[in-house]
Structures are given as structure tokens and as C-alpha cells.
Symmetry: C2
Subunit: 144 residues, 2 copies
């Protein structure tokens, strides 16, 4: 890899840090943090979800995850149900209230995306989309 390529990639990384930062700091008008939102999202995406899946997927310390989950449980956004097969594990799932919150967050997140792209032509949007998929597919197959 030549210097220019590395330079461009690092520049992109700095740039995209800023883009993502924008979203994350627009902490939506719920009282929940990005991390909590991501936890809810991951729980809803999985048919079976344990704390440890989240720890790995979101790269969060397990003690910290434990506290996050306890908080979400105390606010009745999720429920834990101990597994019969392996009683160390707890199945995690969203409550009705948790699903509603996630819906709300999803709507807001979609709107953030729309805002970011407003002003671009649909062919430009498509170019970006395609570019994103290229990056994701190639890096994913390589490392993730």
C-alpha cells in the first residue's frame, strides 16, 4: 500500500468520524444514549439474544453491559428470562415499551439520514450507497 492510499483512507476515517459524531450527538429527543439504542436494536434483530452477544457485537465491557441491561430492565424496556438449557444465560428481549421506543428511534434515525442527503441528486445518493456497499462487503469479507 502506498502512502497516498493510506493518507486518503485516514482522511476518510477522520471525515466519517465527524459524520457519525453528528448523528450520535443528536441524541434524539429520547432520554437514551446511542449505546442504549444500539443495545435495543441488537436485541430486536436477533431471534435469541444473550448479554454476551452484545458484548461481542458492540465491543463493550461485560461489566458495563451488565449495568446497561439492568438499567434498561428497570425502565421496562427489556426483559431477562433465564435459559433452561444453560442457567448462566439470560434470554433478552424487548418489552412492548422497548419496541415502541426503538420504533421511535428508528424513525428519527431515518430522518437524520434523509437530512444528511437532502440536497443531493438521486444519482449521487445512489453512487454513495453503492460505494458504501463496496467498502462494507470488501472489508467484511476480509476481516469482520
Amino acid at each position: 500500500m502506498d502512502k497516498e492510499t493510506i493518507y486518503d483512507i485516514r482522511q476518510f476515517n477522520r471525515f466519517y468520524t465527524k459524520v457519525l459524531g453528528l448523528f450520535n450527538n443528536q441524541i434524539l429527543d429520547t432520554n437514551y444514549s446511542l449505546t442504549e439504542a444500539r443495545v435495543l436494536f441488537e436485541i430486536s434483530e436477533r431471534t435469541e439474544c444473550f448479554a454476551n452477544n452484545l458484548v461481542q457485537e458492540l465491543n463493550i465491557d461485560r461489566s458495563y453491559m451488565s449495568r446497561i441491561l439492568r438499567k434498561l430492565e428497570s425502565e421496562e424496556l427489556i426483559e431477562k428470562k433465564s435459559s433452561i438449557i444453560d442457567s448462566r444465560k439470560n434470554f433478552l428481549f424487548l418489552t412492548k415499551k422497548g419496541e415502541e421506543l426503538l420504533d421511535k428511534i428508528n424513525i428519527q434515525s431515518d430522518e437524520q439520514i434523509i437530512q444528511l442527503f437532502t440536497g443531493l441528486t438521486s444519482s449521487e445518493i445512489n453512487e454513495i450507497r453503492t460505494s458504501m456497499m463496496v467498502i462494507k462487503e470488501k472489508l467484511e469479507k476480509n476481516k469482520f
Copy 2:
């Protein structure tokens, strides 16, 4: 924008959060945080740099920035020199020691990039690079 497009973009954002997270957690064998590294980087990139530039570019609270700068100064990585034209402002610049640290961080960052891309062919790497530049240019011209 249709639902599928928004979906793909959000998926990319989640994915790239993970990629960036990898890097950020690896500021390893210096005792400095990613934020401190970014501050040093920005100071070195600018011919004239004031605290407020950093606050805006890096999206960091100004009281927090004040403390970061004080820490960096106390460790002799940067120096402040009060502006004659506007005595509220301090010119910021790297000391020799700061430059050396930044060099070290840059080398490590380059290596992280190389690691991430090892395993891909050079045409794949080029596709990714081009894709990144498309995304950056289009979004930058639109919003940033």
C-alpha cells in the same frame, strides 16, 4: 429516498462504527487518548491554530478542550503563545516532543490501516479507496 437505501446507509454506519472503534481502542502503546491524538494532529495541520478551531473541528466542549490543552501543555507536547492582535486567543503549536509523539502515532495509525487491508488485492484496495473518496466528496460538498 427509499427505505432500502436508508437501510443500507444505516447498516454501513453501524458497520463503520465498528471499524473506527477498532482503531480507537488501539491507541495503545502511547499513554494518550484518541482525542489527544486528534488534537495534536489538528494543531500540526494548521498554520495558525487556536483552541476554538479545535472546539469546532473536533466537536468538543470548550471547557473540556481547555483542560485537554492544559494537560498537553503540562506534558510539554504543545505550547501556547498569546496573540498580540487578540489577546483572548492563544496560538497553539507543537513542541519538539509533541511532534515526535505525533510521528509515532502516525506510524502506528498507518500500520493499523495496513493491517485492516492485508488480505485484499490491490485492485480491491483501490476500489475501496475510490469509494471512500466518492462518499467524502459528495457529502462534504453537500453538508460539511
